[in-house]
């Protein structure tokens, strides 16, 4: 579904991605784990089109994605729940969700919103409150729900567990693994390697702008090098 080949990206003169190759097949949950500063967020920003690509190709559902501007990528089926949640703080929870389905104005919008409220009941309670007043966990739920309102076939998730209490992290990861049943392919970027690998089918390990290891999530979790470097075991 999503193929990345030789992807390079830079901030000014400093290159931060040195040729990334990865692929995500339809129906999979794939995770990219790595330490802070490895380039994971830059990778996702390249995929969603808000970070310029200096070399390499991105192919999504058989078509090159690089020339497509960021705001047109959701219509192709690629949604992103960005780092730091990036919800619309001055709008209400419901308005945030409605804008998630900005591209649509049919009956399914209502239904999708009900589904989102079912997925995260707390959002229904707060639907008429300004989103800026939500707690960190609720904002993360809103960011994910908003991305799903865009009817993506592939969802890019950037650090959904960042800064959240363990019990909320578990809830978020449960929802992510549940996306499979909804037919949504997931590319999950995480510092929380253990949590991410537990729900993923396959994983990539990223270090300083390069993929250093890859394989089925079960094998990575059992690999002694991973256990030492990322899982603290």
């Amino acid at each position: 579904m999503l193929t990345v080949e030789g992807l390079r990206s830079r901030y000014g003169r400093i290159e931060v991605l040195h040729g990334i190759d990865l692929h995500v097949d339809s129906g999979e949950i794939v995770t990219v784990v790595g330490a802070n500063g490895a380039g994971k967020t830059t990778l996702l920003r390249c995929l969603s089109g808000v970070q310029p690509v200096s070399a390499g190709t991105i192919t999504f559902r058989g078509e090159p994605l690089t020339p497509v501007p960021a705001f047109k990528r959701l219509a192709r089926g690629l949604a992103q729940s960005p780092e730091g949640r990036q919800i619309f703080t001055n709008l209400t929870v419901e308005e945030n969700l409605r804008l998630g389905a900005f591209l649509y104005s049919d009956d399914r919008v209502e239904k999708d919103m009900e589904d989102a409220f079912q997925m995260f009941p707390i959002l229904k309670q707060k639907r008429n409150l300004a989103a800026g007043g939500l707690s960190g966990g609720q904002q993360q739920m809103l960011a994910m729900a908003r991305a799903l309102m865009g009817r993506p076939s592939c969802l890019l998730l950037d650090e959904p567990s960042m800064g959240l209490a363990p019990i909320i992290v578990q809830q978020i990861f449960d929802v992510v693994s549940g996306l499979k049943a909804l037919g949504v392919t997931v590319l999950l970027v995480e510092q929380n390697a253990f949590g991410a690998l537990k729900i993923a089918d396959r994983g990539y390990v990223m270090e300083t702008g390069q993929i250093t290891m890859q394989g089925p999530a079960g094998e990575l979790i059992a690999d002694p090098r991973i256990r030492e470097a990322y899982l603290g075991i």
Binding site: S48, G49, V50, A70, F71, K72, L74, A75, A79, Q80, P82, Q86, I87, F88, T89, N90, L91, E95, R98, L99, G100, F102, L103, S105, A130, G132, G133, L134, S135, G136, Q139, R146, A147, M149, G150
Partner: protein, 290 residues
């Protein structure tokens, strides 16, 4: 009593012009957090282009339409040529760019048109209407009506339409707006076109009363800005109320005290309001957790 009514009428008339300018500020501010100081120039262009087109022999309604459309196109040009290339710059830099655009437009108007003071006939004649011992010009009703119609339109746009929310979303979080599929460049283009068009409309409606010249823009911009701040920047309700309030304060001060103090009185009230309510009368309190 009839004296008070007379002051109120003139306050409402001037206030409606300020309110229209303030409403123009609202849209660009809502889309980008930028206070567009070229807003007054749009008012000037509305009046000047109408006068020139009318003097060239076009009927007044057509001349007014041309002025509004041409000014809206100029607003789009300013966005494309001056604001968009500087995207990513801090808001303060963008505001300074709009000041530059304002100076440029004023200079250009001086060359393209002339330095004379102009006016064109009022839309519904000059016979004053008598109401309760006071009189009001029919053109005043046009200005007040225009402000109310524009307000209602904007209020519906921002609260009832998805595109209006998309404008608000773009200013709140440009990155997220793109990720949900909003073409943020188009939103900026649209808001400059709307703001400029509304500014030009203010110029068209006000010129038979206030007259126009190449340098009237800055005065309108200051008063409109003050009105928008007083009501709460970004809120159409606030812009309307703030504009009318400033007009009324000015008219009452000029009537009962002295016209020397009318501007001072307006600004003293603004300072007091902002001191106790920094968000303005209708401003949203911003609550944000991180």
């Amino acid at each position: 009593m009839s004296e008070l009514l007379q002051f109120l009428f003139s306050g409402l008339t001037v206030g409606a012009v300020y309110a229209l300018v303030a409403l123009g500020f609202t849209i660009i501010y809502n889309a980008s957090d930028v206070v567009n100081f070229a807003q007054g120039e749009f008012v000037m262009l509305g009046g000047m282009i109408t006068w020139f087109a009318h003097a060239a022999g076009l009927p007044l309604p057509l001349a007014a339409l041309i002025a509004i459309v041409a000014t809206a196109a100029l607003g789009v040009a300013i966005n494309k040529l001056a604001i968009e290339p500087a995207r990513g710059a801090p808001v303060v830099s963008l505001i300074i760019i709009t000041i530059g655009a304002s100076v440029f437009l004023q200079g250009a108007a001086q060359l393209v048109f002339d330095k004379q003071i102009h006016s064109f006939p009022a839309f519904s004649g000059d016979t004053p209407l008598r109401i309760g011992g006071a009189t009001i010009q029919p053109q005043s009703l046009w200005v007040i009506g225009g402000a109310l119609v524009v307000f209602a339109g904007l209020w519906l746009f921002f609260t009832r339409t998805l595109l209006g929310r998309a404008v608000l979303a773009t200013s709140n979080n440009r990155l997220a707006a793109q990720l949900v599929g909003i073409n943020t460049n188009f939103v900026m283009t649209l808001s400059f076109a709307l703001s400029a068009g509304i500014g030009a409309l203010a110029g068209v409606l006000a010129t038979p009363i206030t007259l126009t010249a190449y340098n009237v823009g800055i005065g309108f911009a200051l008063k409109g800005f003050a009105g928008a701040m007083l009501g709460g920047m970004g809120n159409p309700k606030g812009a309307l109320a703030g504009g009318f309030l400033i007009g009324l304060i000015e008219a009452l001060t000029a009537g009962y005290l002295s016209s020397t103090y009318k501007e001072a009185a307006a600004f003293v009230v603004i300072l007091l309001v902002l001191f106790f309510m920094p968000q303005g009368l209708f401003g949203r309190k911003s609550t944000e957790r991180v």
